[in-house]
Amino acid sequence: MNKFKVGLATSALVLVASTMTMVGPTAVGIASAGASPSQAPLNLANEQGTLWSCAFNPFVPSSLPYSFGLTYESLDFVNALESGKVTPWLASAYAWSNMNKTLTFTIRSGVKWSDGTPFSAADVAYTFNLLKKNSALDLNAVWSVLSSVTASGDKVTMNFKSAAVPYFYYVAGQVPIVPEHIWSKIANPVTNTISNPVGTGGYVMSKCSGENIKWTANPHYWQKGDAQIKVVNMPAFLSNNTCNEYLAQGQSAWGSQFIPSIQSSYVSKKSGNTYWFPPVANVALFPNLTVPGLNDAKVRLAISEAINRSLISQNGEYGYEPAASQTGIVSPTFKSWVSASAAKGLSASANTAKAAALLAADGYKKVNGVYTKGKIKLAFTLSTNGGYSDWIASMQVVSSELSNFGIKITLQTPAANTFYSNLYAGKYQLAYNAEAGGPTPFYEMRQWLYSKNSAPIGTAAASNWERYSSASTDALLNQYGTTTSAATQKSIVAKLENVMVTQAPVIPVLEEVDWFEYNATNISGFPTASNPYAQPGLYNQPDWGYVLDALKPKA
């Protein structure tokens, strides 16, 4: 293209852009600005069903996904796909002391904020004390266990109220560190949208409109050789279909989409299109333990035995989400944590004979095709989020299987708001939902089983929705927090698995996966099954920023 044409094209674009400022809803700049001519920008296919709000406050859930990981970094990177393997990030080292009640971080030197100001241990202490002052920002409730955070030299010392080993994941891996010199001048950090975020990360947000967010590589990034992709775009998608097509046609090399019939609608559309869906947590049936019938462990175990998890996986999820195990351990991700004795005799297909024997031994008899004992009739409602068609399909399989077996199920698919409100308040009988999980199986077990997470019926409980309470299980969960020994942790989890297979307080059905589609034709360094160095979903923070730093353009 000769110079004249370039000039003409550019001025035409400027003209269009300036016309749009006056008449159209969008006022965005020229596509090619800032991009080096040799390297195409990386477009991300991240459908959120909304235009971007251009807010980047990393302590606000709706804007955290667009700032934590690539603009803001945490002290360490904790990899949930490798049982919590720790990689130093803003802290170069850490150590537990004082009976695992004190955690000392050595803060990395030579790191600069993207505005050029040097980063220091004072910023770390400032960030944590900011969360203490503003509980609305403390998304991980770290101050429920912390008692003080202080900085001295290049060390940051955190004191905990009691031994808090599992909280390392939250304090080191889930708290984005923000610059004191900017945040201390913000009048109200809870409501400030932080439209121009300054962080230590590999990418700087350079332009945001409702239609697209554009990041450019931080030229002063402290990890030399990282953040090699120069420009990253994240266009806004209002629906799955458009996003899936965009991804299939190769306009994006990285997406986190649920794509039906992925082989024909994605993989075969363009050479190099690949997917990998690593399981990370369970999607489970939560029986309300205050409901007669469901308060009986034998009934819950019978439900677990009577459902065909492989069939549910095929019919509800195209087989993308593998069958879960009653032990609660997600495989293959946490395979090394499976207790052989707990897993014995469990199968992904239905074992109705065993289920029937369990109920018979418990005194239940079939009356009109429904198991009954005295006044208790095994007939329940099962709620699932009406917004997730895949979950509804899965639960239709569960309903028909259980109803055929003799436990009558009425499927309810309320709107999301009603569903969550009832789930949290304990106003349901059986519900299908997933927990957040964490870098080891312990985290999900604790969310499921720790009695202090729960609340009386009618009051919202953020986890432990089934209202499980057992002193011995609580003791096990507390004991895990006092040890840094992997062997001891595994033996505690094995005991928790035993609770799961003998009492079935929660009935895992399928394994929730990270949706991850990628095309490595022009870019290398994506996580794979053989190198699972981070969670690959674009909605995993800080993982996606960590992956973005590691990606390399192919020459």
Binding site: L238, A416, Y424, A462
Partner: protein, 304 residues
């Protein structure tokens, strides 16, 4: 305004639970407490105090920060989405009115003619279909069968959507609005015209030997238009609320789509502001219609 405040709060659950649910699996459950603190939900927050705060803030034009959009001020959120809606639904409502009125006038002028036999009945049948159904039919025909037009969204996902691209995305939803709304205008205009054409002053105009075109538009059309004008202004006022269905069918960015999201996320401040916008838009439109009628029709000015 009071209703706007209380209706959203009657929904089951609260915004903190709703956001926690939306981020299920990707956020620590202990965030619930932080979210409730951030949104001012909890036992110690008296609903009456929030109500009076809301009244005061609304009167001073401060609609607060949106819960679901990362704390962005509601006014900014709406200002970004409003042009999409006004552009698409506003323009197509006007187009529907202009075409419908013109066709209705011509049909009445040549009543019994070919145009009169075909147009009004066919458009009335189309306008009897629900909008979303016609929308889906158009999507199936023009996007999937003929593959001519994009079936959803307002723009192509590039770092800077071009103007022409936005236009192409607007064709299908706009076309659907026009063909479903045009029938009503044709029918009312035709009926008005038929009455007006029989009036003495039209006969007079003919007797004077004026050109047909001039009689049609300046004598008959102008008077027949008056009753339609109020209806038109009302429909302009309903552009924003009518946009919900349009934007949902075509996944089109705009205030209708935004309202749907606000409801799903129980974003109280955003919902309140959008409800207020809808109400105010209708009131302003009716006011404008009254003013226009007064200008066009000397009889309504009354007085001496």
């Amino acid at each position: 305004m009071t209703v706007n405040f209380f209706i959203p709060r009657l929904m089951p659950g609260n915004p903190a639970e709703s956001i926690l649910g939306q981020f299920h699996g990707h956020i620590n459950p202990s965030a619930l407490k932080a979210l409730e603190a951030a949104f001012g939900i909890g036992k110690h927050q008296n609903i009456l105090i929030s109500y009076f705060e809301y009244l005061r803030n609304s009167l001073t034009g401060n609609f607060g920060a949106s819960f679901s959009q990362g704390g962005t001020p509601v006014a900014t959120v709406i200002a970004h989405d409003l042009p999409w809606t006004l552009g698409l639904v506003g323009l197509s409502t006007i187009l529907g009115f202009v075409f419908g009125t013109a066709l209705g006038a011509i049909a009445a002028w040549r009543r019994g003619g070919r145009l009169d036999n075909v147009l009004p009945p066919s458009f009335i049948i189309i306008s009897a279909f629900p909008y979303f159904w016609v929308g889906l039919l158009c999507i199936w025909f023009f996007s999937f069968t003929l593959n001519w037009l994009p079936y959803e969204g307002g723009f192509n996902q590039t770092s800077s959507p071009a103007f022409g691209d936005i236009m192409i995305h607007a064709i299908l939803p706009a076309f659907t609005i026009v063909i479903t709304s045009i029938g009503g205008w044709i029918l009312t205009m035709r009926n008005n015209m038929i009455t007006v054409v029989a009036e003495d002053y039209v006969k007079m105009a003919r007797a004077k030997g004026l050109k047909n075109q001039r009689i049609l538009w300046q004598y008959a059309g102008r008077n027949a238009l008056l009753p339609n004008l109020t209806g038109f202004a009302m429909s302009l006022g309903f552009v924003i609320s009518g946009a919900i269905l349009v934007e949902d069918v075509f996944n089109y960015p705009g205030v209708g789509f935004l309202l749907l999201q606000a409801v799903n996320a129980e974003d109280y401040p955003l919902m309140q502001a959008l409800f207020l916008l809808i109400t105010v838009a209708v009131l302003i439109a009716i006011f404008c219609a009254d003013v226009a009628t007064a200008i066009l029709d000397p009889r309504t000015r009354g007085g001496n």
